[in-house]
Every structure is written in structure tokens, then in C-alpha cells.
Amino acid sequence: MSDPRLLVIPKRLAGVKKIYPIMSSKGGVGKTIISTLLALTSSSLGCKTGLLDLDFTNPSTHIVLGVNPWEQEIIEEKGIIPQLVHGIKYLSITIFTRENPTPMRGEAVVNAFRELLAITQWGELDSLFIDTPPGISDEHLELLTYLGDKLEVVIVATPSPLAIKSVERLAEILLEGNYKIAGLVENMSDKPKLQKLAENLRIDYLGNIPYVKDIDEKIGNIELLRKTPIWEKVLEIVNRLLGNK
């Protein structure tokens, strides 16, 4: 370990009790919307909450939140302080890259990851939710390798038969590495169909979120999102996740 940044990253996150990366083996299953709503609902319960967008090539949590992070001033205090958005501490690489395409190779992703985490002062948080890209990429490996002991991975999947095998693979990688899995969220599904899969993998089944036809019209408006069944379900899930049952 010759990178000095790796020595300060754990210190920057020392005040954070739990870190929940939202992962999926397949793309487009709802990680971004779910991670953002997990953060918002957790905050609505009075918990100190953070949200980090780690999808560097396709950052989009700010779209769900309905904000343009690059329009806010960056507050420096021996590093940078995350922005406050709807009551949550929020950080997205778009503060620096705006809406420009930012294609990065592995090495650049690793550098961007370490740089961001080394300069960000999260302070005291009960939970930090992290939206991540699909699959297992450099962002995930950095997270797992350097912050592994605080992580509890939330896996998101849709009930497609095509999803089953890939969820098994993802869970296997995590379980082999002795990483904690907070549980499985089944999205775009009116009935729970993946309970059995979770049971077989010996991971918690956190619940199913129904398919909501007009959700895209509500993206970016928290008040409208709050009235959808997705919010209601995520609220149940966050209660389960935080141990309130």
C-alpha cells in the first residue's frame, strides 16, 4: 500500500456507523432510484444520512433528487463538506464533471475514487448509502478492499429468470470474501418471487417493490415521489435494514 490517500480514507469515514453500497449484477434494475430513496426515507426517520454517487461514468442520483450539484458552491474545510440536499449529506462527482461525459479507464476510476474519499469530510452519520454502477467494477473493488469491514451490501434484482444466476454469482463473490450482505431487494415486482433465492443464498429478503408505470414523471420531485408505492415500500425496507422492523 504505497498510496498515502488510503491512510486517510478510513479516517474520513470514522464517524460513519454503517455504509450501504447498492449493487446489482445487471444494469437498469433500479439501483439509482432505490439508493436515493433509501437515503431520503432513512433521513425522514430522523437518522443522520449520507448519499454518495459512485457511478462515475453515469452519475444520476442528482436527477432523482432534482438538483444540479455543480451549481452549489463547494465548501472547503480541511477537505470538502458534502452538500446538504433534502436533509441528506450528498456527494456526486458531477460537482466537478457537471453533465460532461467522463469516460475513465480503471486507473483513472481508482484515482477519482481515492481522491474523492480522501478529501470528503462526512462527519457523523448513522448511514451512508452508495449508488454504484452495475456489475463488479473498480469502484466496487476499491470499496470492498478498503472499506470492507463497515460495508453491508444491498443487492437489487428484478424477478426475471435471467437475473437469478447473476444474483447468485454476485452473492457468491461477496460471501466468499466474507463481506456482509444486508439483503436482497426485489424491484419492479408486484409479488415476492425471489424469497426462495434469498433463502438459498442465506441472505435476508428485504422486500419487493412494485412496478409503477408513471414513475418517470415523478423523478426529480421529492413531494411527488413521497406519494408513490415505491416510497412506501422503500420506507418499509429501510426500517428493516436499520433494525426497526
Partner: protein, 145 residues
Amino acid sequence: MFLIGVDEMVHEWALAESIADYIERELSKKGKKNIAKIVIKLGILQSIDKEILDFALKEIIKSRDYRVGEIVYEDEEVILKCRRCGYEWRINPSQLDEAIREAIHFVPEAVYSYFKCPRCGSRDFEIVRGRGVSIKEIILGDNNE
């Protein structure tokens, strides 16, 4: 004397802290208490404020139980190289728009959102030199210096 190839990193205070931690770990590995001289390379892409960095580093070192003699900073110019067509070019951050310079200051990888190869338009380029901060050299001192 020994050389270490340290990768690039953060800025000013956060950076100073990681340099101080790094020195501490190197010293404890070698069972030493003091450094006679450290040479820190500053890639100009990150537009590090040398005065703040120096102040921060000295402040942080005061609270540690080791001593550092001389601290030397060396600027390193920025060279980018296109992976597609091989073209190499230089950029000078002091000539950039303030907001872009600030973004790159925090996270040098933001350079991929604002630059393309001037010859072929590709964003798949390499930062050959000058990304950020690295430690070029540490010269150990005497334990009872």
C-alpha cells in the same frame, strides 16, 4: 536515502495529512525518528496552493513525534497523451476557466470531462505526468538530531 514511488493524491490539508501519515509509517518501518529532507513533487494539473500545503504540513508535523528538516517542492508540468492516435500535448491549468480549474483541483480526473485529444477528438488519453502530488524522495536523518 531511499526513493519511493508514491502515487498522486488530494489537496492541501487533506493532502498534508496523508503526507504526514505516510512519513510516520515510513519512519516506523525503518525504526527512525527524523527525516533530514523530503522532496515533494507537485503536478501542476491539480493547482495545489504551495503555501497552504507547506503551512498545513508543518502544522500537522508539529503534533507528531518525529521531526522533518528540509521540505522541498518541485513543480511538474502536465503532459497528456492520446491513446488512440498517440498525440502528446501540454496543458497549463493557470490558463483555464476558474470553475474548471477548481474542479480539476479537487479531482484531477475531471480533466476527462473538459479535454479531448486536439488531433483526433478522443477522450481516451493518459495523464503522462503532472497529475497531482507525489513524494519523490525522503532522506532519513539521525535519530538524535
